[in-house]
């Protein structure tokens, strides 16, 4: 028995309606699962963000009466503030050092762990340890090690006859910035290593066997197989490195205090808002820090996405 044209059309419509109903139920389920995240993110991230952006256009200063609308005044003033300029330069150096060292070091540790056998879990536990230590504790520990008089670093260098007296690391701007970056990298590198290790473990072994049969060198295999297949996770790792380096506070505060040599943008925000009580000026600076962090991170994300999509 064959169906008429009308019957055939009715069957197709019924099927489509059934599918639509199923889709709706799935959408409802998905929506209800996502809703708590949307609510929490909205309340704790987006609402404060919008409020901060809005209030940065007003003069909010507890020491002065009223909160008049001042438009972009706070933002234009930021560009002429010598302390903000110094903090921006410091932060950009710290971001550059942190992202480069964390990425290279993280990938190297991930490759090392991937190549290990039973010892991997022990080495992984050892590498992860600094990540588990709170930033303040981590910074205090390093500040003791770099203490000019009784620190272990100077003791070793004196023992090796590389320095003679008490070398004061914080008195040299370059050394102080590198020191702060190293302390930050020491803590954050394990996260990059773990992300990259997970990515490496997802690459099929056959691809490496094929490359070997084709006579590819280790470097060639890394460039042609490993790197393209880990581009997505690498972008995520570099994004988190960038964001945490832009938000660097504890290490710079404990190792350098409010010194202009090492003052990061977040320290400048803190000092502007909570020491000098120029709240909306601090808000404007924090918005600019967020935008800069987003701009750099988005380059990594888009680049990583491009690599993944081209596969």
């Amino acid at each position: 028995m064959t169906l008429s044209m009308t019957d055939s059309y009715r069957v197709r419509v019924t099927r489509r309606l059934r599918l639509t109903g199923s889709d709706a139920r799935e959408a409802l389920l998905g929506g209800s699962l996502v809703l708590p995240v949307i609510v929490v993110m909205g309340a704790l991230v987006f609402f404060p963000l919008v409020m901060t952006a809005g209030q940065s256009l007003f003069r909010i200063d507890p020491m002065r009466p009223g909160t008049p609308f001042i438009g972009m005044t706070n933002y234009t003033r930021l560009f002429n503030d010598p302390e903000v300029r110094a903090a921006t330069a410091n932060t950009l150096w710290l971001v550059l050092l942190a992202v480069v060292l964390e990425t290279l070091g993280g990938v190297a540790f991930a490759l090392l762990l991937q190549s290990m056998g039973r010892a991997r879990k022990w080495l992984l536990a050892a590498i992860i340890l600094p990540w588990a230590i709170p930033s303040v504790v981590n910074s205090l520990m390093w500040s003791w090690m770099f203490n000019p008089t009784y620190g272990v670093i100077n003791a070793i260098l004196r023992g090796l006859h590389l320095i003679s007296g008490d070398f004061v690391w914080s008195n040299n701007r370059t050394a102080a910035l590198v020191l702060i970056a190293l302390v930050h990298v020491w803590k954050m590198l394990p996260l990059t290593a773990v992300i990259m290790l997970a990515a490496l473990q997802g690459i099929p072994a056959q691809l490496y066997e094929a490359a070997k049969i084709d006579g590819a060198s280790s470097w060639r295999t890394f460039i042609s197989v490993t790197l393209p297949l880990t581009a997505g996770p690498l972008a995520i790792a570099m994004t988190q490195s960038t964001v945490t380096a832009f938000n660097l506070f504890d290490e710079a505060w404990i190792l350098g205090g409010a010194s202009l040599d090492t003052r990061s943008l977040l320290i400048e925000v803190y000092m502007t808002a909570f020491q000098n009580l120029h709240m909306s000026y601090g808000m404007a600076l924090s918005i600019l820090v967020m935008l800069a962090s987003l701009a750099v991170s988005s380059v990594f994300v888009l680049r990583g996405r491009g690599e993944t999509h081209s596969e």
């Binding site: 507890p62 020491m63 002065r64 302390e83 000019p148 008089t149 008490d166 004061v168 914080s170 008195n171 040299n172 701007r173 350098g256 205090g257 409010a258 010194s259 202009l260 040599d261 003052r263 000092m271 909570f274 020491q275 000098n276 009580l277 120029h278 709240m279």
Partner: protein
């Protein structure tokens, strides 16, 4: 019959218990509690014991919270911006009066304390903003030089230096005779203690920081502020001050001095002797004395840096907090004996000195008479920005990154831009 008797007794006992419990709970509900936030004196248990005396006298429970001095200000700011009281009676440093007075975050206290009590506290005027008193001084603080006479005597020096030049001369002798590597200690980190050390040195040279119109007075080469900064640069250049001081705050310098690492601590605190004479905290027990130096030894001067207690406007226990501050003010001698908080009442200081209970008593009593407010017009609302610029700039000078000329210009520019805001 017996069962009925037991039941009656049980019922009576239960009723009595219930009544007692109700009365107890009612009494407990009536007992007022205040929160007091102060810097950690290092003897919280002793302080708590002292406060039990207040509770017995007044019936008011005290929830004492202590934090490091540096952390209290951010707590006050965040709480007040959020519209809540960080505590009912709270630490109020001299340097906050300009900002907090302008922000109207604290309760005026003029009509809540006897005029005679306030008159007995010479530093109370420091806590006045636009004619209103916002804090009652509870901890006396000014700057003195701590001198390790045992080290000086090793170098053949018999008396404490009397002028800023004498300090550098004596330090050179101490260094040449290898008594100590770096004879002078002074905080040079980018922190408040560095700024106050410079103000103190400026006062040593007999000068002021600003004129009556808040115009900087420290930019000319013959000004006291310029000479003070030059003195620091000279001390570092000659190897008399440890270059590692760029990472030390005033409290860290005190700890270092207690370890016998320097002979003269410039801009020490008048309560440091309690630390230096404590064998558990110090290697220089019995060796240190206080001293004041001045470019004109006939006119010694120092700066007043008192700490007060204030009551936030949104405190819910203002009357109880006033009672607590009154109690503290009246018991300053006992509090000093227990936890070394130097009294702010002249009569209390005199009484302790007379009884021989004041560490460095004669000097403290003498030097406290030389104290003057850093700003004769009162601490301005822009003080925090000015102080931040001073300490960050001195830190740069100490690291050899900028000259004294560039430094005074930088501080003056920052002071003027802070005033314009």
């Amino acid at each position: 019959m017996l069962g009925r008797g037991i039941s009656r007794k049980l019922a009576a006992a239960l009723a009595t218990t219930a009544l007692t419990t109700t009365l107890f709970c009612a009494a407990a509900a009536q007992a007022e509690e205040i929160t007091v936030l102060l810097p950690s004196f290092g003897a919280d248990a002793t302080t708590r014991q002292l406060l039990e005396g207040f509770t017995k006298e007044s019936g008011i429970e005290v929830n004492l919270q202590t934090m490091s001095w540096d952390d209290i200000r951010p707590k006050i700011v965040t709480s007040m911006v959020a519209g809540t009281a960080p505590a009912d009676a709270i630490e109020f440093d001299w340097s906050w009066i300009g900002q907090f007075g302008a922000a109207k975050w604290f309760t005026p206290l003029d009509d809540k304390f006897d005029a005679a009590l306030i008159k007995d506290m010479p530093t109370a005027s420091v806590f006045t903003y636009e004619g209103k008193l916002y804090g009652v001084p509870y901890a006396n603080d000014f700057r003195v030089n701590s001198v390790n006479m045992a080290l000086l005597k090793k170098a053949g020096i018999t008396e404490a230096p009397k002028t800023p030049d004498d300090i550098l001369k004596d330090a050179k002798i101490l260094k040449d005779k290898k008594v100590v590597d770096y004879p002078v200690s002074i905080p040079l980190a980018a922190a408040e203690g560095t700024s106050t050390a410079w103000y103190f040195l400026t006062r040593m040279y007999g000068g002021e920081l600003f004129d009556k119109d808040w115009k900087p007075l420290f930019t000319a080469k013959d000004s006291a502020g310029y000479k003070a900064l030059e003195w620091i640069a000279q001390g570092l250049h000659d190897g008399l001050i440890n270059p590692a001081m760029t990472g030390l705050t005033d409290m860290q310098v005190t700890a270092s001095f207690a370890g016998g690492n320097a002979a003269i601590d410039l801009a020490g605190h008048p309560y440091d002797l309690a630390t230096y004479n404590d064998p558990q905290k110090s290697k220089v027990v019995g060796q240190v004395t206080y001293s004041l130096a001045a470019a004109d030894p006939a006119k010694p001067m120092t700066i007043a840096l008192p700490e007060a207690m204030g009551i936030p406007v949104n405190s819910k226990h203002k009357d109880a907090a006033v009672k607590f501050i009154k109690w503290w003010s009246e018991h300053q001698p006992e509090i000093y004996t227990a936890v070394s908080v130097l009294p702010t009442r002249t009569s209390a200081l005199e009484g302790l000195a007379k009884d021989g209970k004041l560490q460095g008593g004669a000097e403290i009593a003498k030097y406290s008479a030389y104290t003057q407010a850093i700003f004769s017009q009162g601490t301005p609302a822009w003080y925090s920005e000015f102080s931040g610029a001073v300490s960050a700039t001195i830190n740069q000078v100490a690291k050899g990154q900028i000259t004294v000329d560039a430094a005074v210009k930088q501080i003056a520019d920052r002071a003027q831009s802070a005033q314009q805001q």
